[in-house]
Symmetry: none
Subunit: 222 residues, 2 copies
DNA sequence: CGAATCTTGACGGGATCCGTACACAGGGGG
DNA sequence: CCCCCTGTGTACGGATCCCGTCAAGATTCG
């Protein structure tokens, strides 16, 4: 049984989510602010956290940091502001996905399924990963079918594949691969994403697994 | 029964791992620092070592070297820092896998299964190895067909052949064969790889088994 | 002493990376 | 409605790095 912790200060949203999630047979715990959210995460050990960024007591990013200090539980962030800066900060802090209010309940449920599926995959097997027609082995650095990748390509691909389904900000990739001085050089990244798609995707013009989230980053969808 | 030695200075982590591993029917030994870890590795002869890099007494990389001096026991490294430099140093020193804290216990268990499975396969197939037209016996250090190898050539070849299909970085070979002060002297390695290919490959100009992965290292392909 | 082995140095070809440039799509505002 | 602007995908050429190879001096060991 999947346990979900919902953190939001608006009673209506809290109620709507509890009802909808319970109807899908999720076990739901709720918290109205950041402090009680951190306590509830310890007590309830949820499998997923849905976190509103606009809390009365703590900054949402601080809550993410508080959780990431000791757990890798997936976090889906909700925010009323559509600004990109918030989203990127949340993702860099370690959030897994992001939904902007107002949102349809179906959209949220789809993200919930995506995230829970990703952790299930990770637990089951991380030796080899399938991507389109290819099988990728991260430990031995091999790709099926006579595909060869350069060091930089491996570096980027590994970051995405080790976080299946998770939205990775461009900033995250650039600091990881090139270093923090290169966060502005997004064209490096575009270059290599195109290269990876050419080598791995069935139809590079319409990628199925190495997905772009405009304004945000990239995502590997199994 | 698989014996696992867990080395970590944080009591909580030590306890969590012991309980979780014992529940999966692994036999668990623990050590709180580097010195006792090296002793415990002698006494308990573990089949796998889980090693935290942030130990109070010794640098984690030194512990890896201390173990690698006399055993090929698989090592999974834990680290609090996500920095790439640590990761590269640990893997070059001879670690088999790398997990960043905080980590899910299921992720670690998956890696444990992956590593034990890999080494089990490896040991079973280690008697004699075919490479092109030649048959190589690592225990008796002989090659079929009147081919003689020098000590240094054996050292390099053995490292590659004991990790079939796996990518071995140049740093790894250099530290293993010449010592860590020689990681810059890649031309040593080029020299000997050419030598090995001349002696073993059908067409040394187009090697089929001792493969170069540009920018990364070498790989033995069976 | 001599032969095998190990250590250096230098050089050319090729792959990779970097930087610039341009086409295209979508959204917002004039 | 059109234009601009942002964000993205794609192409191309030069600079740089990496690797294989030849050659030769130094060292070890029989």
């Amino acid at each position: 049984m999947t346990r979900i912790l919902v953190v939001d200060d608006e009673p209506q949203i809290l109620r709507a989510l509890r009802i909808n999630l319970a109807a899908r047979h999720y076990e739901v715990a709720v918290a109205p602010d950041g402090a009680s959210a951190l306590r509830a995460a310890v007590d309830a050990t949820p499998d997923l956290v849905i976190l509103d960024l606009g809390l009365p007591d703590l900054d949402g990013v601080d809550v993410i940091h508080g959780l990431r200090g000791w757990t890798t539980v997936p976090i889906i962030v909700l925010s009323g502001r559509a600004g990109n800066q918030d989203k990127i900060e949340a993702l860099d802090a370690g959030a897994d996905d992001y939904v902007t209010k107002p949102f349809g309940i179906d959209e949220l449920l789809a993200r919930v399924r995506a995230v829970t599926r990703r952790t299930a995959i990770q637990e089951a097997e991380l030796a080899t990963i399938e991507l389109g027609d290819h099988v990728i082995d991260l430990t031995s650095k091999t790709v099926s079918g006579d595909v060869r990748l350069t060091p930089t390509e491996w570096h980027i691909l590994e970051l995405l594949l080790r976080n299946p389904g998770k939205l990775i900000s461009q900033r995250q990739v650039l600091t990881e691969v090139w270093g923090s001085r290169f966060v502005k050089e997004t064209h490096y990244l575009r270059q290599y994403m195109a290269q990876l798609r050419r080598k791995l995707e069935r139809d590079p013009a319409h990628p199925e697994h190495l997905i772009t989230e405009p304004g945000m980053g990239y995502r590997f969808t199994p």
